[in-house]
Every structure is written in C-alpha cells, then in structure tokens.
C-alpha cells in the first residue's frame, strides 16, 4: 500500500496546489518523485510528531491540505492530544496517513504495533477513520479525502500486500462498504489489511458449499449501517475481522451499532476476529502473528464453519 500511497500523492499534488506532504522522518527514497516535482511542498518534520501534527493543523487552517505521515503509533497515539485539539477541535482538514497499522510491522515489536489506534481516533469528534483493504483502496481513500473539508485518518498496512481490486473501486465513498463477494449464508466483514485473509477464508467456506458475502468495510467511521443491516438480516453468521484490539475497533463499532439499533445476534452467531486485549510479545513476522492470534484465513474459515454447524458460539 505504501508505494501506491506515495505515487497517488504525487499525482494528486500535480493538480492540487493545496496538497502538502509532511513526513515524520520515514520513507527513505519513497517520496523522491514527490520531492522532485514539488520541492516547496515536502517537509521532513523530523522525529517530532506533536509538532508535525500542530504544523499540519496550522497549514490546514491557512487553506492548505497537509498530509501528515509516519508509522502508525507515532502519528496517532504519540500525538493524540494534537489530533484531538489542533485537528479535530478546529475541524482542520488534515489527512493523517499511518503506515504499518495493526501487526504489519509485527517483527519490530509492540512499540511499532498499532492495535488500539482505531479506538482512539474513532472516538474523536468529526474524524473519518478509513482502513483501506488494498493499494487501490488507498488511492481511492486519498482522492476522497481531498474531496472533503474535514479531518481524515487513513490507516494503511505496509508495502507489498496482495492487490485485490482490478483498479480504483467504482463509486468509492467514505462510509460505504464495498461488497467483494455476494452471498446470503455467511457475511465476513473485513477492515484494513485483513482483506486478503478474509477472502481466503471466504474461498475455503465456498469450497465447503457455503454462500459467503464479503464486505470491505474500509471506513470504520462513519460506519455503513445499511450494509450491516442487510448482512444481519440475511446471513446466519456474521463475522468481523481486523488487526486491532476487540476494544474500540471495527468489531466493537458493529457491536455498538447492534446494541443501538436493537439488532439481534444472527442465529449462527456474531464472531469477532481481532488481536486480543494484549500486547503481542513474540518476535516474528505478520503471518506468524496472525497464526498465533487466530487471524489467518484458514482459522477464520474453521471458526465460522463451527458456528455454522452450531457446535459453538463465538
């Protein structure tokens, strides 16, 4: 997702003079093209994220559209007060872009994991929280962010994830989930970089004869409640999947919507796949971490299969 983000940003800057790129001293060589084409609109803000976010807000209040970018924990929790006060309270149209969300940087250890950021940013008034499922959704999210006048948080994975969409998703809009597969027995709802795993799970379940709907719930706030209502009305099992804590993430947002709307748990169950309420303390890469946490596609399929057969509830 990362390289496509840099490429899309450069293209957008070609036609939008408001766009300014702020980096927290990461992305070595990543922004070379941007810097070459727009040298007066690229700023390495150093390892000083509080200042970077305040600077972004000041720029946004002066008519610019700054993108503040660094590794997820540092562009979210490290400068949360600046996001809350400088960006959200001022309704400053800052685009916050995080790289390495969830367990994308599993190998770097818990300092670099980000499994709480959705909860923090989702609770801030006025903030859009978008977790693209692949590189094309990243491009679409950036374009959409520039089309509106409010703060947006775009939560990316890393580089080299599977490309899923054949191109820019048609009619991409914040708050409108993308139906990746149609089905009426199971609905798997994915946010962010879990999309490949969820599609893998859907493939397995389909091989076992199940009709599986897959939603890419790329926007966690605002939530696509119409898509949720239809899924809960239609499907026997509904499951959410995210590289995030069970507290405050997409699954939690869906559970809140269920409670607020009086939507009952489907007959087969409502399952949440998440990273648990714990730090992931083992060394190892993302695929290993997912296996340990039950987030691999085949593990999702197995648990859904169990729910479909009524042997256990989520």
């Amino acid at each position: 997702m990362r390289n496509e983000f840099a490429d899309e940003l450069t293209r957008l800057a070609d036609t939008d003079p408001r766009l300014v790129m702020l980096s927290g001293d990461i992305g070595n060589r990543l922004f070379d093209t941007f810097r070459a084409r727009h040298p007066s609109r690229f700023f390495n803000c150093g390892v000083a994220e509080q200042n970077m976010m305040g600077v972004a807000a000041g720029m946004a209040l002066s008519g610019l559209r700054p993108v503040a970018y660094t590794i997820t924990p540092f562009v979210t929790t490290r400068c949360l007060e600046q996001i809350r006060v400088d960006v959200c309270y001022h309704e400053a149209p800052v685009i916050i872009v995080a790289v390495g969300a969830g367990l994308a940087y599993a190998g770097l250890g818990p300092t670099h994991h980000a499994c709480e950021d959705i909860a923090f940013l989702r609770s801030l008034p006025g903030m859009v929280v978008c977790c693209p499922g692949d590189a094309w959704e990243v491009r679409a999210a950036l374009r959409a962010a520039l089309q509106q006048d409010r703060p947006v948080y775009i939560r990316m994975g890393k580089k080299g994830e599977p490309i899923i969409h054949p191109g820019i998703p048609a009619a991409f809009a914040f708050g409108r989930a993308i139906t990746m597969r149609e089905g009426d027995e199971v609905c798997l709802i994915s946010t962010g970089n879990m999309l490949p795993e969820v599609l893998h799970a859907a493939d397995e379940l389909a091989r076992h004869g199940h009709s599986v709907r897959v939603l890419s719930m790329h926007t966690v706030k605002p939530l696509d409640t119409l898509a949720l209502a239809d899924a809960f009305r239609t499907c026997r099992v509904v499951a959410t999947a995210e590289e995030h804590s069970p507290i405050g993430g997409m699954g939690a947002a869906v559970a809140e919507w269920m409670a607020d709307s009086g939507t009952p748990v489907p007959r087969g169950g409502f399952l949440r796949f998440h990273t648990g309420d714990a730090f992931f303390r083992q060394s190892g890469e993302q695929d290993f971490a997912r296996e340990q946490l039950g987030l691999a596609g085949h593990q999702i399929a197995e648990r859904v299969e169990v729910a479909l057969h009524g042997k256990a509830a989520g």
């Binding site: 300014v20 700023f43 509080q50 305040g54 807000a57 000041g58 720029m59 610019l64 400088d86």
Partner: protein, 282 residues
C-alpha cells in the same frame, strides 16, 4: 480606543499604556464577575497585547478572515480574558459581550474557543499547542506566496512542554522569519516558581541555542514591545524571533504583583475598586 497602528509612525507610548490599563481594568472586572481563575496570568500580558493589537498587527477587525492578516495566537490560553478584552476593544466583537464571560450558553469560555469568535486564531488552553500551529501558519504563508506574520505568546510555564521545543527546532530549520514568539516570562507557573520547577534559565540562551534570534525585553515597556513586534518581516527566510519578555505576574495592581495566590484567586468587589484606583480608572 484609537488604533495606533502603522509601523511607519513611532508608537504613542502614553496611549498604549492607557490601553493596557483599560485592558487590565476590564480583565479584573471579568475575573470578579465570573469568580474565575488566572487573573494574574492575564494581567501579566496586557502590555504585550496592547502593543500587538494597537500597533504592530496588520489586521482589520471587519475582515477577521482576510487571508493576508497577521495571525496572533495567545498560546497561554488561560489568559483568555486579556485576549477577549483586546479583541472586543479593538472591534472584533461588541465589548458588551465581555459581560457574558463564563456565562451559560455564551461564546467566551475560560479558554479561547475554536471557531465562532472573530479574531481567535487558535483554540488554546492546553499548553504547547500554539507554537506548532503558528509555525504551520507561518510556513503556509511561504507555500501560498502570501505576506503575513505569525505571533505566538507563550507563558514561561508553557515552556515546560516538549512540543514547544519541537516547534522551536522546526521553525529554525525552516527559517521562518515571519514567526515571532513572545515568552511572557513572569517567573511563576501555576503552583511554583518556574525556575524551581524545571530549569528554564537561561531562557534567552535556550531559544538562541535552538536557532532563534532571541532578545530579552521589558515585557511592560509598551514602546519597546510595539517596535520589536512591528519589526518582524512578513516574508523572506531567516531566523525566527523570540522575545523573552520579563514580566511581573499580576502586573498593575500592587497587592497582586508577584503574588502567585492570584493565579487562582478571584477579586472581591472591594478589591476591584482598589485595583481600578491604582490603574487610574476609578
């Protein structure tokens, strides 16, 4: 009150002193009416506000959103009463609205709000936010090819915040000559002497070491303040300027000066009367 602006003319110091005294008198009334805290912090910066709003700033209260206006950020947002009084007296809104300070349903909260109040460039109150935002505004001027200055008034206690020093290094690296910090150095923070809390001194040297043109100044000398603020360039690259303004907390009222109880205490009606007498407003 007459506007004394245009830096081509020397500041009328007597007139600026009168304005500062009126600001202090109004601030004291507001603290009494609302029984609200932070009076001494507001009194500390009235001369800075008078010099800025009645001399140095290129602003038009009728056009508070003019893209080319100078930006003034009271980063020490707890001194909001002084800012409110200055904005109202300067014509940004009706001075009668000052009576609504802290009242239910009003616009004048204990800290300056985001949106909704003309002349307030940034919502402050959480310390350490005004300078990074101001740096962003100053850099935006360069990107947008606009000529305006950005002023941020910080308290000395605020310089405890790491974000202040992040912004100081950033502004120096970007050579934001159109950015000016005034540190209202009254030697107190909320509950203790500032230099006994964290080692601020030598404060001028610190700002200089962070890449700023740093000067010490008498923070109650309206003439010197007016000329120093007016001298900030609106464009071009160079070192940002830090004015270390030596001030007295509670300035202008003998029984409040340098007495940190007035960080939280609100005056009685009798104390308001005595203070107004001392300020020559009775």
């Amino acid at each position: 009150m007459t506007v004394l602006t245009t830096s081509s003319r020397a500041p009328d110091e007597a007139a600026l002193r009168t304005i500062a005294a009126k600001l202090r008198g109004r601030v004291i009334e507001m603290a009494h009416a609302a029984q609200a805290a932070h009076l001494a912090s507001a009194l500390s910066c009235c001369d800075i506000l008078a010099a800025a709003y009645w001399y140095a700033l290129r602003i038009d209260p009728k056009r508070p959103d003019d893209p080319l206006r100078d930006r003034f950020i009271l980063s020490k947002g707890h001194a909001a009463t002084a800012l409110y009084a200055a904005l109202a007296f300067r014509g940004f809104f009706d001075p009668a609205e000052l009576d609504t300070y802290c009242r239910n349903g009003g616009r004048l909260a204990e800290h300056p709000p985001a949106h909704g109040l003309p002349g307030v460039e940034a919502a402050t109150g959480s310390l350490g936010h005004g300078l990074p935002m101001g740096a962003g505004m100053a850099l935006a001027a360069r990107i947008n090819s606009q000529a305006y200055r950005v002023f941020a008034v910080l308290s000395d206690g605020e310089c405890n915040e790491g974000s202040v020093w992040e912004a100081a290094m950033f502004a120096a690296a970007q050579r934001l000559a159109n950015l000016c910090v005034v540190v209202d150095y009254n030697k107190w923070q909320a509950t203790a002497r500032s230099n006994e809390t964290l080692a601020l001194a030598p404060l001028r040297d610190k700002w200089a070491a962070f890449g700023w043109n740093a000067h010490e100044i008498d923070g109650h000398d309206v003439g010197a303040l007016a000329q120093s603020l007016a001298a900030i360039p609106a464009c071009g690259e160079g070192r940002p300027v830090a004015l270390i303004a030596h001030t007295v907390k509670g300035k202008g009222v003998s029984f409040m000066e340098d007495d940190n109880n007035w960080h939280y205490r609100a005056p009685t009606a009798d104390e308001v009367r005595k203070a107004h007498e001392e300020l020559g407003l009775a």
